[in-house]
Amino acid sequence: MQFVKSKLPVVVTFGAAFIIVAQYYFNIPAWKTLAAEFLRWNVIIAAFALALGIGGIVKLHWGRISRRQPTAVYSAATLITLAIFLFVGLYETTRGKTYTWLYDFIYNPVAATSYATTFFFITSAAYRAFRIKNSYAAVLMISAILMMLQVGVFSVYLPVAPKIAAWVWNIPTTAGMRAVTIGAALSVVGNAFRVITGLERGHLGGGE
């Protein structure tokens, strides 16, 4: 039993990953077929995983309602909305008329607006954060302003502005981001390798 609880997940992780890595580098037709099958399985299991978040949220909000906390009414709003979407989504599928209405007039506006509020934050962030506290901050600010100058009105009165912005974008920005890309990719490779070899297993969940 101990093997099933703690060793098996590591064996499964490594086995699945090994087949995919091996067929990527070496031409072994049988492994290629197996890898394609594994990837298809991944897509299916990942679809189940989309619903995993429900457990925690229902528990959290149900707890608040049953303890009659002052925020219970909001928790009820979350659970009722979730129930409506789930019921309609499963009953008439995501292609149904009612579901599409829910999607277009509830989910779509709240999701879009929730991101649109960042418009305000970026305004105040620009106002507050771009103060020339040191030379790094100065470089950051100048580069941001040069990029902002490329749009519309400035190109009329300051025809050189879009050209400067294009230069800042094509040369130093792309060069700087390339180093960030390389650095990030190395971390990704390192993390993936540690997960595959079972040196890291936080994702498997703690406890027995």
């Binding site: 394609a36 990942a46 995501t94 989910y107 879009a112 106002y127 103060r131 400035f154 974008w169």
Partner: protein, 276 residues
């Protein structure tokens, strides 16, 4: 007085921004829109497609980024349809399927030469993101059995012509997330990659465009507006560009105000210290 400039209640800034955003929407100014070389080259890359070429059209953004991505989708949908290519649409992001439905219906109604199943197919949502793209690369036909509307794919003639991802000439991806589609799709030999994305994700993709890993790349509302101009189908992006200009001008003004206040305040503090 000037010191206060570094400490304005940000809600005043918000109010000013809102007013200056609404005004140009109601009273369009029609500021000029310079077209960048990047947009021209990206346009040329799609323009080089021949009628009958096979193109993947990926719609991968949720409603959170609709404002930037939907105008791009429309403009590029126009262009692909004008080129007469065969399209296979797909989506890998939760919530994106709605835009795939909309662009499918739009193309079918605007371009009578397009007939569903014959030269255009819309595939359903697939979870797994990067692994899902890898699954397409490994075995496209094995992954999908039904289309976006739930109909069996093997009844569609276009689907029966396709053997796998290697048959495609170009992958046009409209995505609000950076690079996870590129790693798998760049493994298909000979498949050209083309990307439209949000302005905030553009710097992540810039090195990949510079290196030639993508043949086309546009971003943001500006990218959509430029593309609308290039395909000669003015839309909502062009109309929104006045607001962009206003907003940028105001933000630059705020940065300057903040700095004036900051410098004055810092000098005053330095003087006060000196006196002690």
């Amino acid at each position: 007085m000037i010191k206060k400039l570094s400490d304005i209640d940000v809600r005043w800034l918000y109010l000013i921004m809102v007013i200056f955003a609404i005004y140009p929407l109601l009273r369009p100014i029609g500021l000029p829109l310079p077209i960048t070389d990047r947009a021209r080259n990206s346009f040329a890359a799609i323009d080089a497609l021949r009628p009958g070429d096979l193109v993947f059209f990926g719609i991968d953004y949720s409603p959170t980024q609709e404002a930037e991505m939907w105008p791009q989708t429309l403009a590029i949908g126009h262009h692909l349809a004008q080129r007469g290519v065969k399209m296979v649409m797909l989506n890998m992001i939760e919530g994106a399927y709605r835009y795939e439905e909309r662009i499918r219906d739009f193309i079918l109604s605007e371009y009578p030469n397009y007939q569903y199943g014959v030269n255009i197919i819309a595939l359903p949502f697939t979870a797994g993101r990067e692994a899902a793209f890898n699954s397409i690369v490994a075995d496209l036909k094995g992954l999908y059995q039904v289309d976006l509307a739930g109909a069996a794919l093997n009844t569609l003639p276009l689907w029966n012509e396709i053997t796998g991802a290697g048959d495609f000439d170009m992958y046009v991806e409209l995505a609000d997330a950076p690079d996870w589609w590129l790693r798998p799709m760049s493994q298909v030999p000979g498949l050209k990659l083309w990307n439209g994305t949000v302005a905030s994700g553009a710097s992540t993709m810039a090195p990949l465009y510079q290196s030639g890993q993508m043949v086309g790349f546009i971003y943001g509302m500006a990218g959509a507006a430029e593309y609308e101009a290039l395909v000669k189908k003015p839309g909502s992006a062009a109309a929104a560009m006045d607001t962009q200009s206003m907003g940028h001008a105001l933000i630059i003004l705020f940065v300057i105000l903040g700095n004036i206040g900051y410098i004055v305040q810092r000098n005053a503090e330095a003087k006060a210290k000196g006196r002690k």
